[in-house]
Assembly symmetry: C2
DNA sequence: GTAGTCAGATTGTCCAGACATATGCATTGA
DNA sequence: TCAATGCATATGTCTGGACAATCTGACTAC
């Protein structure tokens, strides 16, 4: 099995990144089969005309993604597991779109409201200060799938209703120059109230999947607080976790 | 603010790890306040008598944990957010114990069964081959909290009922020399069946939080497949996610 | 035959530097 | 006044090498 790897030194893309992408593609494509050894770092570095730290950096990024496993004295192997998708801070919109579900969004509420104690605490703003409140119904194949209620501190971005209906909130934030960094999530379940049931075309008392999330940007500022309810027959949270060594 | 950092070169603990632990402790302890600059890498390296790559490795590990943010041309800052706990592949038992809930476990079933198609696919074993089936009721403060049904490939570890009642499954695996690596999870919700309701002291049709998980060890072998149901009034999944740049 | 030992292979850690590139601020120019 | 330029500063990328720790497998001694 010969793997043809090469790097382009005239490209502005970092060498380690070029290499890690090629390796990832080879794993995805099946050229590198699960369990196979990758060949030792020194020989690989020599073959590509790179230094060993650069090759290590490429390999390390794939180890962090959970695609490779290194073992001292043995080598670097491709992991056996079938599913490779790592856990990401994902947006429901993107999730649906990549799943080919053609999501649609209906904005129900888009206004400024005084922050409640809970919202103020989550966003780190003063109680009763103005925050944006956005309520949206997310549909897939014309069927209601989730009801999203979000609070956003003022001044961060324009919340245009038309834009909110044509794309996701995270995508809007990113295009407004906000670098998302981390989020604190809580996933639970409860019975639907009459109002919730109505919105999601379920029956009162039907089980709902709930998610609360506070999202932080790269400076640690809270940029969004959301309370979402999902129809569990239409949506579940799927992700892969890695153990922190 | 002078931060007293030092490394012990005679220790077998890697230097970058010593440094990252000290920095993490300083952040945890509040000596390094959120938003404060860490000081540039070169000066830090000189102060500690380390090389810059070593200092970078220490800092990088904290960036990966979400405690620090680097910005080119600016410096490295401590993140503002309050909550630092990263997402981990957690065990319910450990979760409860660290929350001071004194978990108890009652083993309902502990036997060998032929693998169903679903179990065989999840564990990567032949259909109808023998696998362990363990069903447990997890209680906190004497109240039922979750019903855990797990399948484990044979030959990996002793499944002693007494041990299963006194500790968690993950802890048993670790002490059997299995290195947990990653898990594929799916979290959803549904209405309780009559049997489930009975086991969890809920009513039929009550909403339940469900989790399915396949856990892999460091070679990519599936070591456990579990189907869990939680009482949503007693338990929810809480974690922090990081954005992959 | 079994256990202990040793050598080879491979990754882990660490070093000392070089150049590239993005950021923020002060200075300069229109 | 305001925009463009330039500079200092910091992190990002990369090199080439050194020694240590660990795993595997083969060999040796009992």
């Amino acid at each position: 099995m010969t793997l043809d790897l090469s790097v382009d030194r005239s490209s502005p893309v970092p060498l380690y990144f070029q290499l890690s992408q090629q390796l990832e593609a080879a794993i995805e494509h099946g050229t590198l089969t699960p369990g196979s050894l990758l060949g030792n770092e020194i020989e690989l570095a020599a073959r590509l005309g790179l230094s060993r730290p650069t090759v290590r950096q490429a390999i390390q990024s794939l180890v962090d993604k959970g695609l490779l496993v290194r073992r001292r004295g043995v080598g670097t192997q491709v992991v056996h597991s079938q599913v490779k998708r790592p856990l990401e801070l994902s947006s429901l919109y993107d999730d649906l779109e990549t799943a080919g579900q053609r999501p649609a969004t209906k904005v129900i509420v888009n206004t400024l409201v005084p922050a409640s104690a809970e919202v103020a605490a989550a966003l780190g703003v003063a109680e009763d200060s103005d925050v944006h409140r956005v309520e949206r119904l997310r549909l897939a194949h014309g069927e209601p799938m989730a009801y999203l209620c979000n609070f956003i501190p003022p001044g961060l971005l324009d919340l245009d209703t038309a834009q909110l209906e044509s794309t996701g909130l995270y995508r809007l934030m990113r295009s407004a120059g906000i670098t998302l960094h981390s989020a604190r999530q809580s996933i639970g379940a409860r019975a639907a109230t009459a109002a919730e049931a109505e919105r999601l075309a379920e029956e009162e008392g039907a089980p709902l999947l709930t998610m609360q999330r506070v999202t932080f940007d790269d400076t640690g500022r809270a940029v969004e607080f959301g309370t979402h309810t999902y129809r569990p027959t239409r949506y579940s949270f799927e992700f892969q976790l890695l153990v922190r060594p």
